[in-house]
């Protein structure tokens, strides 16, 4: 038997799960996340393999989901100095790059320039590409930046200008400089796509350190036969090499993984998923087996991007949320939390802070720690706190549902012990086995994808035939990325016509995904 090892590094806990080749969960552990993240990973692997002794060489795949990139941006830590060039002038000079960024984060960018170039909506050039102008900007920033972000007007329609600039950048600044181009990062919307590209460029050191750290911690634990993958925000996996190139795509993989993990554990294609952590609760929806996507622009560290994120409502409720009674007798829950200090601060663990976990124990919903420490709590207070928690969850479930009909609800996450067994609006409530580590499970069962993109003239190739070809190419790329023959499905097809562009041309973009072989 061969095994998959799934690891999720969260802000509070590092989870590890072992899943057999035929997708059965063999075991899971939860350890505190360490400051350097690696010792947390090492610790989780040791504990997992101690409880589930297997031949380390039988682990053939390991998957990592991490909040490292999100944290680096939010905390402005380890970001690389970046140079930004936008190919669009004379268009867009009215909005310089990063105009609405918070100053400290914007200071990551050492210099920027808006050069001639870019395209109209129909693929016509706004202005021709000026090689000398681009070259002189790269000469100017050489030695001052480690990473370069290149954006271009309508780059999602045509990206030749971006590619030419990237080539010149390497010529002038050497092969070691990291280059991010916007057409490989995001979709329509110049500013949002450029923002994501700049963040990607700034994250390259973070990406290098966590990919190398992950590889090292596995090697140190004797896991040497496994292929390594990272979770990205659309619920598919990328290789280590891709993760080094596109680290920004690992942002916000957490909610996607927990929704997909819950889906896998309950085999339910349509349900509401409630993921209760230590500080927050994320409520999302599984629709036809995939997380329902949000239509809103996603913000990362206050910067607006155009990623499609799962549609999730986050509320300040978790296993560590602090419970208080006001003078008028009313009871409040959260949004502040004792977080990872739960096992020291909560009453049941001998601490001095009343948390939601203490309420759950006092109400007899769960047995944890020292029950006697909460036995003298005012029953009225406990009752009020439970109903406050219940109301918070019910409001969010109701807000995320698409109709008033009751829906099946799946409860996951380490903090889910605080949620009462009856929720108005829920047709059923399932708390699956391994509910505490749904994130890591979601990461381990993720698919791999192949993306194919091309400009096709429908005068030369009829549309139907062109789309078929593109689907075949995307499927081939997914297989090349490691997907199993026969499991690959087309998950997204985009067909953007380039009006007034010669030859009835369209830009075709197809995404295929399949199970890892």
């Amino acid at each position: 038997m061969r095994y998959k090892l799934g690891i999720d590094v969260g802000g509070t806990n590092t989870d590890a799960v072992l899943i057999s080749e035929d997708l059965e969960v063999k075991g899971s552990v939860k350890v505190p996340t360490s400051n350097d993240i690696y010792s947390g990973i090492v610790d989780s692997i040791r504990q997992l393999l101690k409880a589930n002794p297997i031949d380390k060489d039988s682990i053939f795949q390991t998957m990592l989901g991490t909040t490292q990139c999100t944290n680096a941006i939010v905390e402005r830590k380890n970001l690389a100095p970046v140079g930004v060039i936008r190919l669009a002038a004379p268009a867009s000079t009215g909005i310089p790059p990063m105009v609405d960024w918070e100053t400290e984060l914007a200071s990551t960018v050492v210099d920027y320039y808006i050069a001639k170039g870019g395209y109209e909506y129909n693929g016509k050039e706004i202005n021709s590409f000026d090689e000398d102008e681009v070259r002189s900007f790269f000469r100017k920033i050489k030695g001052k930046v480690e990473s370069v972000a290149i954006s271009c007007c309508f780059a999602s329609i045509r990206n030749e200008h971006e590619k030419r600039a990237a080539k010149i950048c390497k010529e002038e600044m050497g092969e070691d400089v990291h280059v991010s181009i916007s057409s490989e990062i995001g979709s329509m919307g110049l500013i949002e796509r450029e923002n994501a590209t700049i963040l990607n460029a700034a994250l390259y050191k973070v990406a290098r350190s966590f990919t190398e750290g992950f590889q090292k911690s596995l090697a140190d634990e004797g896991i040497t036969k496994a292929n390594l993958y990272l979770s990205q925000n659309d619920g598919t996996l990328m290789t280590m090499e891709e993760a080094k190139k596109y680290p920004v795509l690992t942002i916000a993989c957490g909610p996607t993984n927990s929704i997909r993990g819950a889906n896998y554990l309950c085999k339910s294609d349509d349900a509401v998923v409630i993921d209760v952590g230590g500080t927050t609760t994320d409520i999302g929806v599984i629709l036809h087996g995939f997380p329902r996507q949000s239509s809103q622009a996603a913000e990362i560290g206050g910067v607006r991007t155009n990623f499609r994120m799962p549609d999730v409502i986050s509320i300040g409720l978790g296993g560590g949320s602090i419970v208080r009674q006001r003078d008028d007798g009313s009871v409040t829950v959260g949004p502040d939390s004792v977080g990872y200090k739960l096992t020291k601060k909560a009453l049941v663990f001998g601490g001095d802070t009343l948390t939601t976990t203490d309420i759950a124990v006092a109400a007899g919903m769960y047995d944890l720690g020292d029950k006697s420490k909460v036995s003298n709590l005012d029953p009225n207070l406990v009752k009020k706190a439970v109903s406050t928690i219940k109301a918070m969850v019910e409001d969010s479930v109701d807000a995320i549902k698409i109709s008033s009909d009751p829906v099946p609800v799946i409860l996951v996450g380490g903090g889910s012990i605080i949620v009462p067994e009856v929720i108005v609006g829920a047709a059923s409530i399932t708390k699956p086995n391994f509910f505490g580590t749904a994130n890591a499970i979601g990461s381990a069962i993720s698919k791999v994808s192949g993306n194919y993109e091309a400009l096709v003239s429908f005068d030369k190739t009829p549309r139907e035939e062109a789309l078929e070809n593109a689907k075949k190419e995307a499927t081939a790329l997914a297989l090349k990325a490691g997907a199993k023959e026969g499991t690959v499905e087309i998950i997204d097809v985009e067909d953007v016509p380039l009006a007034y562009y010669p030859g009835n041309t369209s830009r075709i973009k197809v995404k295929a995904a399949g199970d890892l072989a």
Binding site: A91, S92, G94, Y121, I126, G189, I191, S403
Partner: protein
């Protein structure tokens, strides 16, 4: 007279998005332009329409074209210089001030960017007091002001000014130029003297947008119920419904984004149903089959969670919203105003009744 800086721009964006009554698009790009221009050139002087001279030359500035294009191919920032120069050459005199055309989305903030970079004051007035889909739907048309001469400028430096024989021709020529220039251009039309602006403009609209935005920003921590209460006081508005979006039926008809939103009541509207019909902007609201508001009064939708404007592009199943009705500017209620933008113009088979009357009838029945 006072000045518009960065904080005011944020507030105008929030407030004007709601006054767009479902239209006008996302103000994000306009906000970035205004922020960039104010940082570079300094704050914008906002002047009271009543303080301008009768013979002053005032021009509205706006963007024409597809919002998707604008979100990708932003302005150069020099378009207004070209526009002003053409108009000044045409009239053989200096322009005294700029003004917005409409409230809502991009066009509420583009004039702030333009005024900052031209060093011109902005008049606290516009031609709609809301957003509308067609070029002739401005209060100036009610006053007989011609759209022509209209000037257009693109980000590449191309510019054109034309005199037309009717507003319909203005629209037709402008569309053709916009397409050739790549789908979006900056424009000015309805050039006016101070007397016309004072007589036919929707006064104090910039201040109103800003004040509403500020209310929303400062009351955020008190919850949306409190925000709604103060918002209604400040706008003489009515809470028409509170509900969850149960369905959105869309159709496309040429250039317009048409459809119906089905709402299921929540809180005190629990058990009731409502519908909002839209054509780019929200046209009417029905509660349990009875019309409670129609154009030209404003039917605005805001998110119950954060009080952000919900535009017709961002409607989504399950979102909890308040439907708010606001009385329109009084000129829209004249015979000419209703011909231009009354319910029948939009194909709705009902006579216009001011929202105050409709709401009163409703409460009398109960």
């Amino acid at each position: 007279m006072r000045y518009i800086g960065e904080e005011e721009i944020e507030d105008i964006a929030t407030g004007a998005a709601i006054l767009g009554a479902g239209g006008g698009g996302d103000p994000y790009v306009g906000k970035l332009m205004a922020l960039g221009a104010v940082r570079k050139h300094g704050k914008v002087k906002l002047i009271d329409p009543d303080s301008i001279a009768d013979d002053a030359l005032i021009i509205p500035v706006a963007m024409m074209g597809a919002p998707t294009v604008l979100e990708e191919k932003a302005c150069n920032g020099g378009e207004y210089i070209a526009l002003c120069k053409m108009v000044e050459d045409h009239f053989g005199r200096k322009i005294d001030a700029l003004m917005p055309m409409e409230a809502g989305g991009f066009n509420s903030l583009l004039p702030v960017a333009a005024a900052a970079s031209m060093g011109l004051p902005l008049v606290d007035v516009d031609g709609m007091g809301r957003a509308f889909p067609e070029l002739q739907m401005v209060t100036f048309t009610i006053g007989g002001v011609a759209a022509s001469p209209m000037a257009l400028a693109d980000e590449k430096g191309n510019s054109v000014i034309f005199n037309t024989i009717s507003n319909k021709w203005t629209e037709e020529l402008a569309r053709a130029v916009t397409m050739s220039c790549g789908g979006s251009v900056s424009v000015t039309l309805y050039p006016m003297n101070g007397k016309q602006v004072k007589e036919f403009g929707v006064k104090n609209i910039v201040t109103k947008s800003e004040k509403l935005g500020k209310t929303i920003r400062t009351l955020k921590q008190h919850g949306t119920k409190e925000t709604l209460k103060v918002f209604l006081e400040e706008t003489d508005g009515y809470a028409l419904f509170e509900g969850k979006i149960a369905d959105v039926r869309r159709e496309t008809n040429g250039a317009f984004n048409l459809g119906t939103i089905e709402l299921e009541g929540i809180e005190k509207y629990s058990g009731k149903k409502a519908q909002v019909e839209f054509q780019n902007e929200n046209l009417l609201c029905r509660v349990d089959g009875k019309i409670v508001a129609t154009v030209p009064d404003l039917v605005c939708i805001v998110d119950c969670e954060n009080f952000n404007a919900v535009t017709t592009e961002t409607l989504k199943y399950g979102k909890r919203i308040y439907v708010i009705g606001l009385p329109c500017y009084h000129l829209w209620r004249t015979k000419k105003g209703l011909e231009l933008a009354g319910p029948r113009y939009f194909g709705i088979d009902t006579d216009y009744k001011p929202i105050e009357e409709r709401v009163k009838e409703l409460s009398d029945e109960i």
